[in-house]
Amino acid sequence: MKFFQKLSQIDRRWIYLLVALAVIVPLMARMGLPDAPGKYSLQLFDAVDRIPPRSQPVLISADYSPSMMPELHPMFMAMARHCLARKVRLMVMTLDPTGAGLAENGLRQITDEINARAGSAADSAVYGRDYVFLGYKPGTAIVMMSIGENIRQAYPADAYGTPLDSLPMMRDVRNYADIPLVNCIAGSAVLNYWIVYAGARYRARVGGGSTAVSSADYYPFLQSGQMVGLLNGMKGASDYEFLNQQRGYSSAPRVAGKGMDAVSIVHLLIMGFIVLGNVGYFVTKKSAQQKAGEE
């Protein structure tokens, strides 16, 4: 009985230590757990994959802060890699002030990789021709509505002060009608706003990625067709990285793939703790009831 009582009273420091080990060990040594991309990750990947190269640009709004970086930044990287590897033009913006630094550095990393491998100017990722960085703009819903009227209202110039009309790929882009897909990567309710304002009001095709904890909020929009696909937390990011590698668009190390190993082990650990806690709870409850009956 003492054993079961102890089982339901494990010191929290042991729990913390086990969680730390469950995170650190899989990150140090890749476990290579099998990948099975989810339905909605695949739908989003296919939506980007169907956009013709060197045509109208995809918009990615990197609406996340560093606190959500481990889950959401790999999504941004995988999606941007996919677009630029296929020569699908890319516009990147953010509605989170701290998202600008993350997105800009991510873009720089990807374009450096592509340009280091490129054999000719046509294979390179050229700023203004293949991608633009619009930067941060305050106003959330107002910015989305402004893009629906004319993107120049929200962004007269890019993040570096260059007027949009001076950038070759932006000359024919006016509003959502010229953007085949809007992707929002967010850990907050901003994705909801994109669905409501860009999707419902301006008929834009909206996809995106969210943290695992908030992804349940978007299932109604997936079923109604108001979202073309969804990346669900670390699993969604890992799915996208896997699909990129499977279709030959990227050979970059899979950051979320590695993270998914750690997430899997931590999930198992948490499930183990729940079982232990419940076993201890029921055994001690039963013994307390027996004691009460004897008295």
Partner: protein
């Protein structure tokens, strides 16, 4: 007048832009586009307000030597350094060293600190699930089983245990979860509409400050 003027502006603009949505004319479109530009400018002022509020709060804290007042110096110093580097490194001034310093501070100080704060959640969640996630009632048992299956469905071990687990996990998300989410969304929609109407008609006045009376 101090209260009546904002109420009047909200009433007139609220009704005007509700009507505007249903008028597909050129004049209506131009009005809407002009208003959007105004709103963009106005929303930027929210940043100025937030900045003023932050500085005011921390300066007062330092002046009155409130608990942990020394940390307010760190906040103000961070604000000043990042703000100054951001402006000097931005497109209008364009100092490359300032831009590089801003990026280094952001990537190697702010980002890890922010991520570390959020990562601590994993420890609390593990500890809380062990202590609080108990099958104390029928409802709690249903929640426990559903949570278990969804967690297993997300990780590769679920399919390794039984190949139908990811399907069951998806069914839970697409049927019971969605039924409740739809109910919540409809409630939020109706509530937002009712609140918007109350604000436009001046019934709800708490946004003016004070007790709302």
């Amino acid at each position: 007048m101090k209260r009546q003027l904002p109420l009047m502006i909200v009433l007139v603009l609220g009704i005007a832009f509700t009507v505007q949505f249903f008028i597909p004319s050129r004049a209506s479109e131009v009005t809407y586009q002009t208003a959007l530009q105004w709103w963009l400018v106005m929303s930027s002022f929210a940043m100025v307000l937030a900045l003023g509020s932050l500085v005011n709060h921390h300066v007062l804290k330092i002046k009155r030597r409130k608990e942990h007042w020394a940390f307010s110096w760190v906040t103000l110093a961070g604000l000043l350094v990042m703000g100054a580097l951001g402006i000097m490194g931005g497109p209008s001034v364009g100092l490359r060293w300032a831009n590089a310093a801003y990026n280094q501070l952001f990537l190697f100080v702010q980002a890890p600190m922010d991520s570390a704060m959020f990562a601590i959640l994993a420890f609390y969640m593990a500890s809380a699930s062990y202590r609080a996630f108990r099958a104390r009632s029928k409802e709690a048992t249903v929640l426990l089983i559903a949570g278990f299956v969804v967690m297993l469905g997300i990780i590769p071990f679920g399919a390794m245990l039984w190949r139908r687990i990811p399907d069951i996990s998806e069914w839970i998300m697409m049927v019971p979860n969605m039924a409740s989410k739809r109910g919540i969304l409809l409630g939020i929609g109706l509530g937002s509409t009712a609140t918007a109407l109350k604000i436009i008609l001046g019934i709800e006045r708490s946004w003016l400050g004070g007790s709302g009376k």
